[in-house]
Symmetry: C2
Subunit: 158 residues, 2 copies
DNA sequence: TATTGTTATACTCTATAACTATA
DNA sequence: TATAGTTATAGAGTATAACAATA
């Protein structure tokens, strides 16, 4: 990726022992196989680009949703993102230790925690959103504009 | 899903505390977010449908590729599927314990293992392929024919 | 020196179950 | 009874590093 220009120019770097090309057989007809490949690329690129703010895809999505829905409960957040409530506890614990989020007492329901971003959380989220936008542009370039638009239209609201 | 007809008819089952609908904010503009949601659904459905043959998506893909490329090396298999060589070792160990795969000595290169399916492996793979085809049909139905075709065209060969 | 397969480690994610406190 | 948050556990998946055997 990084040295694609030079590699294209030199071209003598050995084709990575390409070999006879492995047959994927039935996997060629399994959409899930290719969706997974896209997803793996997305996570790798996302993690790399957000390494400066040290946020995983899951942590980023949690901050985004809290930021746009201040005061929501952990259950609501977990259900929205498809994360297990049990896992969200540790996730929030990590974010809270970094002073990015807060769990406040919910006025209406003593069982619930009202989730909020701290001032630091809002600032970091703003930086993270900018990096996530760069990641999105990279994905668009990787797929090409047509395939990107097509996949978005097909996957939206799933 | 299973009781969608009855639920639509009764409708009194309480809308699962739908609430004010959580705002996804920027996530609505992140293709990776929706790709991940599709991928999670795919894995869950796949695992459930192949529970009878007790194969994970990774194990299935390994059997398929070995089946179509008898004698290939672990490195080639790992590179093809994007699996770490180290992880493939344990994966193959599990399949070998179930007598589904074999690691034979490679005639040309003493370092390599030539991977093969056993007779049981071929038989189980045939059953698994049929179940995977059912999963594919379910995914197509879940997405709808148009979105399925669109996503496949966009994701193919990624 | 580089590659193949292997072992080991650590961390994340997923899936459960069980517990508490509130409702 | 049911729900919200928590703790604990076990199994996958991921990412490394290091090693022996072979090239």
């Amino acid at each position: 990726m990084r040295s694609s220009k030079r590699a294209a120019k030199l071209a003598i770097v050995k084709p990575a022992e390409t070999g006879p090309a492995v047959d994927l057989d039935d996997l060629n007809n399994r959409l899930g196989y290719f969706v997974r490949r896209v997803q793996v690329w997305v996570f790798q690129d996302f993690i790399r680009r957000l390494s400066g703010v040290d946020l995983s895809p899951a942590q980023f999505s949690v901050l985004v949703v809290i930021g746009a829905n201040a005061g929501l409960s952990q259950s609501a957040l977990a259900a929205t993102l498809g994360i297990e409530r049990a896992r969200l506890v540790r996730l929030l614990h990590g974010l809270e230790q970094r002073a990015l989020t807060q769990r406040l007492a919910d006025a209406d329901d003593g069982r619930r925690h009202a989730l909020h971003l701290t001032r630091d959380g809002r600032k970091l989220l703003a930086r993270a959103k900018a990096l996530a936008a760069e990641h999105e542009a990279a994905l668009k370039q990787k797929l090409g504009p047509e395939r990107y638009r097509m996949m978005f239209e097909a996957a939206r609201d799933f």
